[in-house]
């Protein structure tokens, strides 16, 4: 049971971070379907940094902070490609996002293969000793429960997101740009700037989320599979959470239980006795998300102006 809790919290943290990333972007009016790609780039940067800092012998606590910052920065940098095309060039946001998803996997494969100097896109970031920075340093024990530092980041991020969105001038302005950009512009808010901010924030959260998905759970990662649809699942979490931080956290927990079962079903006697193949459990979060969306989407309320490029000149 502790194992189920461990993985549920792990995936809930990932989904919350990434879905809140999507939330900031969509609240500002930009559909961010590129979350999957942003996660890949963030995760790649995270594990590459782990190996670099490991080799450099950086102390573990500093290394943890630095790698998380690097993952967020990489995500932000990559998301700026989306921001540029969607905001400045007024491109179709869904297509731009799809392109970035494809590009991310290709880039990650090329980089991973070159780092390995071989045909394998698998990067290893675990070592036998805990004295130097590696994947196991990101977890810690609380009694029988294994937690990881990304959970702390997530809790802080939820609080910060709630505060920013509902209690700051910036948050109000951001939401105004997603609802009615013309009105926002008329009172002197720079819509382009706010949307850039929204997308970059989603990049930071998505990048960290990508690392949170890859690093604490396993010691090596095959970048051929990207992040296995986790970014898209986060989109469903965001919709289910109605673009609100606290609801998103709740929705993420719900989906995370399903996702966690794929990891540990064979160690739970009841599930193991069913004898279902692993793929069924892999499928579950996606099926669950469709069932949920089917029932909730009729009264779902997306930010009104999302997906519509803002053109100062148009009326």
């Amino acid at each position: 049971m502790w194992l189920l809790l461990k993985y549920t919290l792990l995936y809930a943290a990932v989904l919350t971070l990434v879905a809140m990333g999507g939330m900031f972007s969509e609240r500002s009016g930009v559909i961010n379907i590129a979350l999957e790609g942003i996660m890949v780039i963030g995760g790649l940067m995270g594990v590459v940094m782990i190996n670099i800092l490991n080799a450099a012998g950086v102390p573990v606590p500093i290394g943890i902070v630095l790698t998380i910052i690097a993952a967020g920065a990489a995500g932000a940098a990559y998301s700026s490609l989306l921001a540029f095309s969607a905001i400045n060039l007024k491109a179709d946001q869904t297509i731009g996002g799809t392109a970035l998803n494809l590009l991310a996997t290709a880039v990650a494969m090329v980089i991973a293969k070159r780092i390995n100097g071989s045909d394998s896109p698998k990067i290893t970031y675990s070592t036998n000793t805990n004295a130097v920075l590696n994947s196991s340093n990101f977890s810690f024990q609380v009694g029988p429960l294994t937690l990881n530092y990304f959970l702390l980041v997530t809790i802080a991020a939820i609080a910060a997101a709630w505060f920013i969105l509902y209690r700051t001038r910036f948050g109000m302005r951001l939401m105004a740009c997603g609802e009615h950009p013309q009105a926002a512009d008329s009172v002197g808010i720079n819509v382009y700037k706010m949307r850039w901010a929204g997308v970059l924030m989603s990049g930071v959260l998505g990048g960290i989320g990508g690392m949170a998905y890859i690093v604490p759970a396993v010691g090596d990662w095959n970048f051929e599979m990207g992040v296995a649809g986790m970014g898209f699942l986060a989109l469903a979490v965001m919709i289910f959470g109605q673009w609100k931080p606290l609801n998103i956290a709740g929705a993420a927990l719900f989906f995370a239980v399903f996702r966690a079962m794929a990891n540990i079903f064979d160690s739970i006697p009841f599930l193991a006795s069913l004898g279902w193949p692993k793929e069924i459990y892999n499928m579950m979060p996606f099926v669950a998300s469709m069932v949920v969306l089917a029932f909730t989407s009729r009264k779902s309320r997306a930010p009104k102006a999302e997906g519509v490029p803002y053109d100062k000149g148009s009326r």
């Binding site: 559909i31 379907i33 490609l81 095309s85 060039l89 007024k90 491109a91 179709d92 946001q93 869904t94 297509i95 731009g96 799809t98 392109a99 970035l100 494809l102 590009l103 996997t105 290709a106 880039v107 494969m109 090329v110 293969k113 070159r114 100097g117 045909d119 095959n222 051929e224 599979m225 990207g226 296995a228 649809g229 898209f232 989109l235 469903a236 919709i239 193949p277 793929e279 069924i280 892999n282 499928m283 996606f286 099926v287 998300s289 469709m290 969306l293 089917a294 989407s297 009729r298 779902s300 997306a302 009104k304 999302e306 997906g307 519509v308 490029p309 000149g313 148009s314």
Partner: protein, 400 residues
């Protein structure tokens, strides 16, 4: 979410060519950087920029540009055959996405429909031992079923087709892997090779017929490398889709629905039916693509290692965008994508990972996303405002 492409054919072509040129340029720069890193690592500081350029050109960029025709790999027409082999399913997935675009839908689920289509084709071949044309029809049916789901979700439950397609991509992949593998006991699964049984051995009747051409007095393709007629089927279907979209009432209705759902409804078109039908046809096209590929007998499904969605489905998006959703254009853009992908495989892999070709096509789609900008720019600044279509407000309410 909807891209209305109503530019002149010439403008679209020019914009696509610009996208390709920039994409190739980016690819060349990536290769150059990879080459430079390698020479720096191996301590080859003495290597001049000229030498670096030469290595990048000879071992990286030249194979990509030459594609299947790259000399060393093209013994007995092998490279060209591979290119044709991949182009056929690419045309189909491209058509799938293009058809959906024309009817106002973004079918990002071609990958899932392709997967299910592949399963249907292989099942009909290996288990049911049907002839090839029946297997192709089965693959169309599989794709159609998987395409119908997002259509139904959109029409009746108001869930955006992009979200549904993405989710069902993964559901389809996991389902197909499970059914084929079945813990090693699946009737289609060969325990020795950990793949599905090869069609050549267990279902030769399901293999697509092959053809050969004579160059001079010698056949161009070696005996083992004769390409299938899949490419001709794909081209014929592309023409058929062009006719359906442009010359029939049925196609007009589907298009009208994509332009303005409410107006179409007012004009007496059943918009729910149209959405579902569009997705069914779109899915069937992607399914046939998988049929054309897997019934060629040159690759088997590997349920244990297929953890990623087939790239063919997503490359279909590149094909469609590059072709500005023109079915005939899809033929040429599919040939291009197949060309650079096959070429990517011929690069000196130690230096240049094959995925550089994917980077090129990724950059090309990224550019296509705002190719409208190119087009308006090319069309001259005076017409700038007039030719920029207003954002589609109707697409909005559908966003789940």
């Amino acid at each position: 979410m909807k891209k209305k492409i109503s530019m002149s054919g010439f403008g679209s072509l020019l914009a696509s060519l610009v996208c390709i040129a920039v994409g190739l340029l980016v690819g060349f720069i990536v290769l150059l950087v990879l080459g430079a890193i390698t020479s720096a690592q191996s301590g080859g500081a003495g290597q001049s920029f000229g030498e670096l350029l030469k290595v990048t050109w000879e071992q990286g960029f030249k194979p990509i540009l030459h594609g299947g025709f790259y000399a060393k790999a093209n013994t007995m027409g092998m490279g060209v055959r591979m290119e044709i082999l991949q182009a056929a399913p690419l045309i189909m997935t491209g058509l799938s996405v293009a058809f959906a675009f024309k009817t106002g839908l973004f079918n990002i689920g071609a990958a899932g429909q392709y997967t299910v289509g592949a399963f249907f084709a292989l099942f009909s071949a290996i288990v049911l031992k049907l002839p090839w044309w029946a297997c192709l029809l089965a693959s169309a049916l599989g794709g159609a079923i998987w395409g119908a789901i997002p259509g139904l979700f959109k029409a009746f439950l108001n869930v955006n087709e992009v979200i549904t397609s993405i989710m069902f991509n993964w559901v389809g992949l996991y389902a197909v892997n499970t059914i084929i593998y079945q813990g090693g006991t699946g009737p289609m699964f060969n325990l020795k090779t950990t793949k599905t049984f090869t069609l050549k051995e267990c279902a030769p009747q399901s293999l697509l017929p092959t053809f050969n051409v004579n160059v001079g007095d010698k056949p161009y393709f070696g005996k083992l490398f004769t390409p299938t007629i899949g490419i001709f089927i794909a081209i014929a279907l592309a023409v058929a889709i062009w006719i359906v979209i442009n010359k029939t009432t049925f196609g007009y209705e589907l298009k009208a629905c994509g332009f303005n759902k409410n107006a179409a409804k007012y004009a007496g078109i059943n918009e729910k039916k149209s959405i579902v039908l569009s997705m069914i046809i779109s899915g069937a096209l992607a399914g046939v693509g998988a049929g054309l590929f897997y019934l060629s007998g040159s690759k088997e499904w590997e349920p244990l290692v297929s953890t990623a969605l087939p790239a063919m489905g997503f490359n279909g998006i590149s094909v469609a965008l590059l072709a500005s959703s023109n079915p005939i254009g899809c033929i040429f853009s599919a040939l291009f994508i197949s060309h650079i992908t096959v070429g990517g495989g011929f690069m000196y892999a130690k230096l240049f990972p094959t995925e550089v070709a994917d980077i090129i096509s990724g950059v090309v789609i990224y550019l296509c996303a705002f190719s409208l900008l190119f087009k308006t720019f090319l069309a001259g600044r005076k017409k700038k405002m007039a030719s920029q279509p207003a954002p589609d407000k109707n697409g909005k309410e559908a966003d789940a």
